[in-house]
C-alpha cells in the first residue's frame, strides 16, 4: 500500500482545518471533521492491512521524501508496512476513532472544543508516525510529537493550576527518558551507520555483535526512552498526574496508545534486544517490578481515574515483562487487548464522572449501577477482561505472558523465569482485587452521596455507543491470538502471532514450547493458577466490600503503616521532589545569583572597578605643583640614564 502516509496526512489535514477555522465553525462540524479524519486513517490502515494479507507477508517500505540527508547519514520520510506496524496502526486508528466520537459527547460543553480536536488529531498523526516510521529518527519525531500532544492535552484546562503543572511534569519526565533514547540513537548510528529498521536489522544480524557490550548499552539506553514514555519504574510518576487531562485523553493517550509506544519500540528493535540477554533481563525485571509496584499502589487509591492510571502502569509492566522474556508477540498482543479494555474502563469512568458532575472520589460514589446501567456493564466487562476472568480478551493475553515468563530460563539467571512468574501472579491477584473493589465502590455499594443533590444520569448515546464497541473488543479481541491450549480446543488457530512475528525476533521458543506434552501440562498448570488467582481477587473484593462492607476501615487501622505507605504511593513523588526538584531549584537560583551575578559578573565588574580605582588613586600624583613635576622629570632623567646603562651592563 503505497498510500499509507495518507493515514498520517488525513489527521494532519484535520489539524490544519480545525486549527485555522475551528473557532469559526459549528461545533458539530469540528468534531465530525476530526472524527472523519481518523476514520479515514482507519480505512487507509485497513486497506493496507487487506493489501498486506493479499500480498502474503510482503513487508515493504514506502519512501516519501528525504528528510535529513548528509551522507552517510540518510534519514527519510519512509514508512514501514509490516505486520507489527499494521497491527499498531489499526489499533491506534480504531481506538482513536471511537474516542473521538466519544469526545464529541464528553467535551460538548467545553470552551476549547476546536482546540481539543486539533490536538487530538495531531496526536493521532504523531502516533501513526511513530508506529509507521521506517527509521528510528522518524520514530523519534512521532515519539516526541505524541509527548507534545500529551503535554498539551494534559494541560488542556490550563486555567486551573494542576493540569499545566502535570503537563510539564509529563513532558520533562518523558524528556529524561528521551535523553537516554537519543544516546541510544547516537550509539546505533556510530556502530551501524544507519537508522533504518530494515538495514539495521540486517547489520545487527549479520555483523553479529551478540552479547557485545555496546549492543547491551544501546538496548539499555533505548529502553531508557521506553521507561519514560511507557511510564515504567522509576519514571512512571508522570502518568498518574496525567489524569488531570480530560478523561477521553486519558483513555486514548495515557492508556490505549501513547504509553504503549515503549513496548512497540522494544518489539520493533527486538532483533537487537534478543542479541543481549542482560538487556532482556533488565527489561523483564523492570517490567515485572513496575507491574507489582503499581498494582500495589492501585489497591488503596480512592480516585477513580488514579486506580486506572496505576493499573495502566502495572499492565504496561506486564507488556515489558513479556518483551523481556522474548515473547514479543505476546507483548504486542497484550498491548492490543489492553487498548480495548483499558480504553473502555477509562471511557466508562469518564461516563461516571460525567454523570456525577465531575466527582472523581470513589468514596463519594456507590450504587451507580441503577443510574447508569450501560456504563456499569461497560465497566464490568472491562474489569473482568483486565482481571483475567476466563474467556475474555485480557485473560488470553495475560495468561500467555505468565506462561512465557514461567518457561523462560535465561543463561545468566536460570531461575529468573520463576521469580518473574510469581511476581506476575501476585500482580494478577492485585489486579483482580482493585478492579472489583472499584466495581463495588462505584456501582454496587450503597450510595455515599446526597441523592437529593446529585442526580447521576446515563451518558448520551455518542458516549455509550463507542463504549459498546470497545466492550465487544474487550471480549473478543483475545480470540485472534489464542494460546496453543485453547487454540487446539476450539480449532481456532493463532492468527495474531504469525501475522506480527515477521517483524519480530526470537519468540520462537514459545511457539515450540506448546508442542511437548510436558509443556502442555505446564500451560494447563499456569492457566489454572491464573484463573484461581483472578477469582481469588474477585472473591476478596466481594468479601471486603460486599459481604462485610465497612470492614476495610478496621483493616486500615490495623495496618496503618503499610496502608499509609501505599496510599502515599511509597512517597516516590516526595522523594523526587526533595532529592531532585528542590535541590535543582536551589542550584539554579544559586548558580544564577552566586556564580553568574556574583562570581563571573563580579570578576568582570571587579576588573572594571580596580582599573577605575587605580585611575582614581593615581590622580593625586598630578598635584599641579611645578616643583613636583620637576622632580618627576629629574627622577625620570635618572631612570632613563639608568635604563641606558643597564643595556651597557647587559653587554
Amino acid at each position: 500500500m503505497d498510500y499509507i502516509y495518507l493515514a498520517i496526512a488525513l489527521p494532519l489535514l484535520g489539524v490544519l482545518v480545525n486549527g485555522f477555522f475551528g473557532r469559526r465553525m459549528p461545533r458539530k462540524a469540528v468534531g465530525t471533521i476530526a472524527s472523519l479524519a481518523i476514520l479515514g486513517s482507519f480505512v487507509v490502515s485497513l486497506v493496507a492491512f487487506l493489501n498486506y494479507i493479499a500480498l502474503e507477508g510482503g513487508a515493504h517500505t514506502v519512501m516519501l521524501l528525504p528528510w535529513l540527508s548528509l551522507p552517510p547519514l540518510e534519514i527519510s520520510y519512509g514508512f514501514l508496512v509490516d505486520g507489527l506496524s499494521l497491527v499498531m496502526a489499526l489499533t491506534v486508528s480504531l481506538v482513536s476513532f471511537l474516542i473521538h466520537v466519544y469526545s464529541m459527547g464528553y467535551m460538548a460543553d467545553d470552551d476549547g472544543y476546536p482546540r481539543y480536536f486539533t490536538y487530538l488529531n495531531l496526536f493521532v498523526a504523531m502516533m501513526l508516525t511513530l508506529v509507521l516510521a521506517d527509521n528510528l529518527v522518524l520514530m523519534f519525531v512521532g515519539w516526541e510529537g505524541v509527548g507534545l500532544c500529551s503535554y498539551l492535552l494534559i494541560g488542556f484546562w490550563y486555567k486551573k493550576a494542576a493540569p499545566p503543572a502535570a503537563g510539564i511534569k509529563a513532558f520533562i519526565v518523558n524528556r529524561i527518558g528521551d535523553f537516554a533514547f537519543l544516546i541510544g540513537i547516537f550509539l546505533i548510528f556510530w556502530l551501524y551507520g544507519t537508522f533504518n529498521f530494515t538495514e539495521l536489522r540486517q547489520s545487527v544480524e549479520t555483523v553479529a555483535f551478540a552479547g557485545h557490550f555496546p549492543l547491551t548499552l544501546i538496548a539499555l539506553f533505548l529502553f531508557g526512552g521506553a521507561i519514560g514514555k511507557s511510564a515504567q519504574f522509576p519514571l512512571y510518576v508522570w502518568l498518574p498526574d496525567a489524569m488531570e487531562g480530560p478523561t477521553p485523553v486519558s483513555a486514548l493517550i495515557h492508556a490505549a496508545t501513547m504509553v504503549t509506544a515503549g513496548v512497540y519500540m522494544v518489539s520493533r528493535m527486538s532483533f537487537l534486544y534478543s542479541m543481549t540477554e542482560v538487556a532482556m533481563l533488565v527489561v523483564a525485571c523492570v517490567g515485572a517490578f513496575t507491574a507489582i509496584f503499581a498494582g500495589s499502589i492501585a489497591l488503596v487509591q480512592n480516585d477513580i481515574k488514579r486506580v486506572l492510571a496505576y493499573s495502566t502502569v502495572s499492565q504496561l509492566g506486564y507488556m515489558f515483562l513479556a518483551a523481556g522474556v522474548g515473547a514479543y508477540w505476546i507483548a504486542i498482543f497484550h498491548l492490543f487487548t489492553h487498548a480495548f479494555f483499558k480504553a473502555l474502563l477509562f471511557l466508562a469512568s469518564g461516563s461516571v464522572i460525567h454523570g456525577m458532575r465531575g466527582e472523581m472520589d470513589m468514596r463519594k460514589m456507590g450504587g451507580l449501577a441503577k443510574y447508569m446501567p450501560h456504563t456499569y456493564w461497560h465497566f464490568l466487562i472491562g474489569a473482568m477482561s483486565i482481571s483475567g476472568i476466563p474467556l475474555l480478551a485480557g485473560f488470553f493475553s495475560k495468561d500467555q505472558i505468565l506462561f512465557a515468563a514461567f518457561t523462560t530460563r535465561p543463561d545468566i539467571w536460570p531461575n529468573a523465569g520463576m521469580v518473574l512468574w510469581i511476581v506476575g501472579v501476585v500482580t494478577a491477584l492485585f489486579t483482580a482485587f482493585y478492579m472489583f473493589r472499584q466495581i463495588y465502590l462505584v456501582f454496587l455499594t450503597k450510595p455515599r452521596f446526597d441523592e437529593a443533590e446529585i442526580h447521576p444520569h446515563e451518558a448520551p448515546s455518542s458516549m455509550v455507543t463507542p463504549n459498546w464497541i470497545l466492550a465487544i473488543g474487550s471480549v473478543l479481541a483475545g480470540y485472534i491470538g489464542l494460546p496453543a491450549l485453547f487454540a487446539g480446543i476450539i480449532h481456532m488457530p493463532n492468527a495474531f502471532q504469525p501475522f506480527v512475528s515477521g517483524a519480530l525476533a526470537g519468540g520462537a521458543h514459545v511457539a515450540e514450547a506448546a508442542h511437548g506434552a510436558q509443556e502442555l501440562f505446564k500451560e494447563v498448570l499456569t492457566t489454572s493458577i491464573s484463573v484461581v488467582v483472578a477469582l481469588l481477587g474477585l472473591g476478596l473484593a466481594f468479601y471486603l466490600y460486599q459481604v462485610r462492607y465497612g470492614v476495610t476501615e478496621k483493616l486500615k487501622r490495623a495496618f496503618a503503616a503499610p496502608y499509609r505507605v501505599l496510599l502515599n504511593k511509597y512517597y516516590v513523588d516526595e522523594f523526587y521532589d526533595s532529592t531532585f526538584v528542590q535541590p535543582g531549584r536551589v542550584l539554579c537560583e544559586q548558580l544564577s545569583r552566586v556564580v553568574d551575578l556574583g562570581i563571573i559578573d563580579g570578576v568582570v565588574n571587579a576588573i572594571a572597578f580596580v582599573v577605575g580605582a587605580v585611575g582614581q588613586v593615581l590622580r593625586p600624583i598630578q598635584t599641579g605643583f611645578i616643583r613636583n613635576y620637576a622632580w618627576y622629570m629629574g627622577a625620570g632623567a635618572i631612570l632613563l640614564v639608568i635604563l641606558l646603562w643597564l643595556g651597557l651592563g647587559a653587554k
Binding site: 582599573v611 613635576y629 622629570m633 625620570g636
Partner: protein
C-alpha cells in the same frame, strides 16, 4: 663641509620663508590694523598658509635637498610634516578669530606667534644636526609658552603658560647637555654620528648624553614621567592653542624624534630601545588610567595625548621602514581627530573656563546632531575603530611593531586601547544617552524650555567637519596618502 647655495635647494626654504615672512608681516599689520583685527589678521595668515602650502607642493622635494651647509635637508618626510603643520595651522586660523572674540582677546601678536612656532615645526624635521634640532625646538616652543598663557584674564591660562615655560626650559637644559654626545663622538650631525658611534670613546658618558637628550624629546613628546605638564597646559591654554599644540607639536616632535633615532642613533638602538620600552609602558598605562575619571574634555584629551604618545613610541622602538609611514599616518590621523575635537570644545566652551565638561555634553546629540556625530567620529578614531583614520593608523603602527617583534608591548598597548574605550565612549554616552540636565522643565514647556540652544558657529563646525571628513576618508581610502608616505620614507 662645502656650503652650497644652489637655486633648487634654496627654493625648498620657500614655504618656511613664507611663514616666517608672514609672521613678521603680522606683527606689522597688527600695528597697522590696530584694534580688534582678528579676522583680518587670520585672513591674511590663512592666505600666507595657502601660499606656503602651494609652495611646498610645487617644490615638493622628491629628492633630498640639503641647504645651509647641510644643517637642513629638505626631503619628502620633512615636506609631509610641513604640510601637516600647515594644515593644522590653517584649521587653527579658522577657529581663532571667533574664539578670540568670544574670549575677549586682542589678536595682537597671537597670530605672529602661531606662525613663528609653525616655522619652527616646519624646519624641525629638516634639521640635520642636534644643534639645529635644539634650536628648532626652541623656536617652536618659545612662542607656545606665550600662547599658552595668552588669555591673561584667566588664571588657568596664566598658570598654563607659567608651568609650560618653567618646565620646558628645564627640559631644554637637559637636552643641551647632549654635549656629551659631541664630546665622545666629535659630531652632532645625524648622519655622521651614526658612522662614528661604533668607535665612540667613553660609552657611559655617551649614554649619559643620550639619556639627557632623550629627556628633552620625551618632554616634548609627553612621555611619562615627563608628561606632567601636558594636562595642566592643555587645559589652561586657549582652546585653539591647545588644538594647535596637541596636533602640530606632536607631529613635528615625533617626526624629528623618529628621525634622530633612526638616522643618528641606530647603532645605539639596543640601549634606547630598552629605555623607550619602559617609558612606553609607563606612558600608555598612566595616560589611560588618569584619563578615566576626567570631567574636563580638554583634560581628557590631554591624557589621551599622553596615551597616544605611548602608542607612537611603539613605532619609534620598531624603527623599521614600516614604522616611518606608520608613525606619520598615525600622527596625521591623530591630528585630525584632536583638532576637530578641540574645535568643538572651543565652540561649546564657556567664557569663564574656556573648557567643556562632559556633563555639559548631555543631550548634545539632539541639540547639535551634526557636531555630536563629528565628535563621535573623533572619539572612535582616537579609539581606533574601523572606518576611521585612527584604525588604519593603529593597524599600520601595530604592524610595524609586530614585525619588529615587540609582541608583549603590543599586548600592553592593546589592553590599554580597551581601557581607553571606556573614557572615549563616556563622551559619546553623554551626548547620546543622557538627557539634558533639566528635562522636566523642558517637558513642562513654558519659558524655561527656551533655554539657549548653543548654536555651533560656522568656523568651529567647518573645522570639525573638515576633520571628520578627513578621518573617514583616510579611514576608508587611505590609499593615496599611503602611496605618498611610502615615497617619503627615509
Amino acid at each position: 663641509m662645502g656650503v652650497s647655495f644652489a637655486a633648487g635647494n634654496i627654493l625648498s626654504l620657500l614655504p618656511v620663508g613664507v611663514i616666517v615672512l608672514a609672521a613678521l608681516l603680522l606683527v606689522l599689520l597688527e600695528v597697522l590694523w590696530a584694534g580688534r583685527a582678528n579676522r583680518r589678521l587670520a585672513g591674511f595668515g590663512g592666505l600666507a598658509v595657502v601660499v606656503a602650502g602651494i609652495a611646498q607642493l610645487v617644490y615638493f622635494p622628491l629628492l633630498p635637498s640639503p641647504v645651509l651647509g647641510g644643517a637642513l635637508r629638505f626631503d619628502g618626510f620633512a615636506a609631509i610634516v610641513a604640510l601637516t603643520v600647515l594644515a593644522v595651522l590653517f584649521l587653527t586660523l579658522i577657529v581663532s578669530p571667533a574664539h578670540m572674540a568670544r574670549m575677549g582677546l586682542r589678536g595682537g601678536e597671537y597670530y605672529a606667534l602661531l606662525f613663528l612656532s609653525a616655522s619652527g615645526m616646519m624646519l624641525l624635521p629638516a634639521a640635520r644636526g642636534l644643534v639645529s634640532i635644539i634650536i628648532c625646538i626652541e623656536l617652536l616652543s618659545l612662542p607656545l609658552y606665550v600662547l599658552a598663557g595668552y588669555n591673561r584674564r584667566l588664571a588657568f591660562s596664566r598658570e598654563a603658560g607659567f608651568k609650560y615655560f618653567l618646565l620646558g626650559a628645564f627640559a631644554s637644559a637637559f637636552m643641551i647637555y647632549a654635549a656629551f654626545i659631541w664630546g665622545t663622538t666629535g659630531t652632532l650631525s645625524l648622519g655622521v654620528i651614526a658612522e662614528s658611534l661604533p668607535s665612540a670613546g667613553n660609552r657611559a658618558l655617551l649614554l649619559l648624553g643620550l639619556g639627557l637628550l632623550l629627556v628633552g624629546f620625551a618632554f616634548k613628546a609627553a612621555l611619562a614621567p615627563f608628561h606632567a605638564w601636558v594636562p595642566d597646559v592643555y587645559e589652561g591654554s586657549p582652546t585653539p592653542v591647545t588644538g594647535f599644540m596637541a596636533a602640530a607639536v606632536k607631529v613635528a616632535v615625533f617626526a624629528v624624534f623618529l628621525r634622530v633615532l633612526m638616522e643618528g642613533l641606530m647603532p645605539l638602538a639596543e640601549f634606547w630601545r630598552l629605555a623607550l620600552y619602559v617609558l612606553a609602558i609607563i606612558t600608555m598605562c598612566l595616560g589611560n588610567l588618569l584619563a578615566l575619571h576626567q570631567m574636563s574634555l580638554k583634560r581628557l584629551l590631554a591624557y589621551s595625548a599622553i596615551t597616544h604618545a605611548g602608542y607612537l613610541v611603539l613605532g619609534l622602538i620598531a624603527a623599521n621602514a614600516e614604522a616611518v609611514s606608520a608613525v606619520l599616518f598615525y600622527l596625521i590621523a591623530y591630528s585630525a581627530a584632536v583638532i576637530g575635537s578641540l574645535a568643538l570644545v572651543a565652540a561649546w566652551a564657556t567664557r569663564r573656563t574656556d573648557d567643556v565638561y562632559i556633563s555639559d555634553l548631555r543631550g548634545m546629540a539632539e541639540r547639535q546632531p551634526l557636531a555630536a556625530l563629528a565628535l563621535t567620529f573623533f572619539m572612535l578614531s582616537l579609539i581606533g575603530f574601523p572606518i576611521t583614520a585612527g584604525f588604519v593608523g593603529k593597524v599600520l603602527l601595530f604592524y610595524a611593531a609586530y614585525k619588529a617583534g615587540y609582541i608583549a608591548l603590543l599586548i600592553i598597548a592593546i589592553i590599554n586601547t580597551m581601557v581607553s574605550v571606556y573614557y572615549y565612549l563616556r563622551v559619546v554616552q553623554a551626548m547620546y544617552f543622557l538627557p539634558r540636565e533639566q528635562p522636566e522643565d523642558a517637558a513642562e514647556g513654558g519659558l524655561k524650555a527656551a533655554a539657549p540652544v548653543s548654536v555651533v558657529a560656522w568656523p568651529y563646525l567647518t573645522v570639525a567637519l573638515i576633520s571628520a571628513v578627513a578621518i573617514v576618508v583616510l579611514g576608508l581610502v587611505p590609499r593615496s596618502l599611503l602611496v605618498w608616505l611610502s615615497m617619503c620614507s627615509f
